[in-house]
Amino acid sequence: MKQFTKVFKFEFLNIIKSKAFIFLTLILFIGTTVVLFYPRFTEGKKSSSAGESKPTKLAVFDSSGALGEYIKEGMTSYEVTLCKTEKEADALLADETVDASVVITSPLSYIYSVNDMGLYDETSNVINELLQLKYRETRLAEFGLTESQIAEIQSAVAVPEYKIVGNDQSQSFLYTYILMFMLYISVITYGQMIAQSVATEKSSRAMELLITSAKPDSLIFGKVLGTGFAGLSQMLIVLLWAVVCYRINAPYWEDNFFVASIFDMPLSLIAYTLVFFILGFLIYAFLYGALGSLASKMEDIGTLTTPLTFVMIIAFMVPIMSISSGKVDSAVMKILSFIPFCSPMAMFARIAMSSVNPVHIAISIAILVLSNIGIGYIAVLIYRMGILMYGKPPKFTQVLKQLKK
């Protein structure tokens, strides 16, 4: 235990003193700060120069003449130019005097021309709405309804009232995604770091002294947990800083539903995040450490760790695709949420985005804890064997054979 603490401390300090770690932490800090302070500055500008924001310019031509004027009245936030001919409208669009042109061909059809279609072009929706209103109004009047009757029909709107028993996926999606992504990135970067660090100790032969000074169990556990703790502290500090930044700028974020939803994460979920993050990180990190011990040169690491990285990618991609397509409780996800290497992602996504039976959560966590113990044990066995082995990295089957002994 004493040796473990020494190794833990040494590895932890090594990581947090490394240039890569400091650099990454700084980038994350600056990134969060810039993103979360952004609206404070843009918002400020908006209020002082609200009038200057340019309205979309529209050229409208209507052969019947009546609808053109109606549209101009209806589209108050647009700068509408009424044209006398279709050619005039085309010309205005061509020399970019207007952003778009509308040529009305019948009461319910028109040609909407635009140089470049924007991602969030709402103009045609507004015109649709106006034309439909006008059409209904005209037709209803033809059926002999009074003006007030028509107005009543036109203004009828269905008002739903939402009752969400479980989770609101539209609200939980973003933070689930972010947290899963963070776990994924942490495992890939810190896992690789552990593998590399073990291989460096081997290739520099510092291992010769290490194994004669400390027990292999202390060495691998100290390294994995020390590195993991460095990664976890980095993540927590950045997240904490993000919360601070958000609180400072909360008023500016009020109308941004997505960002606000991230910081409205339920407390229980933070606890689950920690549990799944730690257990999910460790199960991979143990194996990365064990695989690193099989390498004699730095070049071997890639070949050795690729299969594990693939497992991680699959364990990440399947839940991500499931939550993106709204099938967070699909049969595949249900199965994955009990499989050790996938459950940190899959079960976490299900807890965050749907309602999972607490018994199932407990079973999933229990399986994950037991697997961590098992994998930790296997990792020590591989490590013990690997650190004394030099030359070509052994094949998987050879490792299994050795482990049996």
Partner: protein, 303 residues
């Protein structure tokens, strides 16, 4: 303290590396462990240091199974290795702490050896900025940082210039004088002869020879004599002409007049003859086998 290695067997897979090794070593003395490359020296050292267990046999310290948690063993591995990117003092203290030594006494020990080895100025620089010889000295300090009772030095002199080798020699001698048990492995026989009273020669996983160097040398036949003369050729002719009945062979080997007697007891006869008939004689002595001769004799052929 007495370290007794008793009938150690160890195999890795199909390969039998050690096949019944036994020897013993005492505090205040150095034991030379010799063997060709791949003879199993490193495996033996690792078993003594409990990196892994033996398949059979025991390592006893004062009659009880050795416990590396209780006795400090310093190790200078043949494959030198420390953290190249770490500051020297930082990593020395780390290794000391892993061995259960507190920082302060480790710092004291380190300072003592830094001074002796004249590398005080490198305390706080990164290891990879040092020359090979200086890195070697750091490695030596690392092996002594926990003030060990048993010191295992594997090829400590390789890569050192004569001045540095001299510093190392005085440290090894001091260790022996301070009552440490030194296990010394090297292919440089002159160092072994200089420090070690006893040796063990490993070959093919077995100990083919063990005991005191002096006794081993004595055990060889003493019927070969070397005559030191000014003119080898003249003396050789005199000997051959005389056709002495007790001489079986007379020849010049490596520039020395060497005479092989039929019988060890006839030495006085040759000495008498030489004294009377070779006027320019400087001396006459029994040719003892060198440690290198003994080593080659026992390990030539198979590994």
């Amino acid at each position: 303290m007495n370290l007794t290695v008793n009938e150690i067997y160890k195999s890795f897979g199909e390969k039998n590396v050690l096949k019944g090794i036994s020897f013993s070593a005492e505090s205040g003395k150095a034991l030379g462990i010799l063997g060709r490359n791949g003879a199993g020296k490193t495996t033996l050292i690792r078993i003594i240091m409990q990196v892994f267990g033996a398949d059979a046999g025991q390592v006893l310290l004062d009659g009880k199974p050795i416990d590396t948690g209780k006795v400090q063993i310093g190790y200078l591995p043949e494959e030198r290795g420390l953290y190249p990117k770490q500051k020297i003092m930082t990593q020395l203290l780390y290794f000391a702490e892993l061995k259960g030594v507190d920082k302060k006494s480790a710092e004291k020990t380190a300072d003592k050896y830094f001074k002796k080895l004249q590398i005080e100025q490198y305390k706080n620089v990164r290891l990879d900025t040092l020359s090979k010889g200086n890195q070697q000295k750091i490695q030596l300090v690392a092996s002594l940082i926990a003030n060990p009772d048993i010191v295992i030095l594997d090829e400590p002199f390789s890569g050192l210039d004569p001045v540095n080798a001299g510093m190392l020699k005085s440290i090894v001698k001091e260790l022996i004088r301070d009552g440490k048990m030194v296990l010394f492995s090297s292919h440089q026989m002159n160092y072994i002869e200089e420090f070690c009273d006893d040796i063990i020669i490993l070959n093919g996983g077995k100990s083919v020879l063990s005991g005191s160097i002096k006794k081993i040398k004595r055990s060889y036949a003493r019927n070969i004599l070397e005559i030191a003369v000014q003119e080898n050729e003249n003396a050789l002719n005199t000997l051959l002409k005389a056709e002495l009945p007790f001489v079986s062979k007379a020849e010049i080997i490596d520039g020395k007049l060497t005479v092989t007697l039929k019988n060890e007891a006839d030495k006085p006869l040759l000495i008498k003859f030489a004294a009377e008939n070779i006027p320019d004689i400087d001396g006459i002595s029994v040719k003892e086998p060198t440690l290198a001769d003994i080593f080659i004799h026992y390990t030539e052929g198979s590994v």
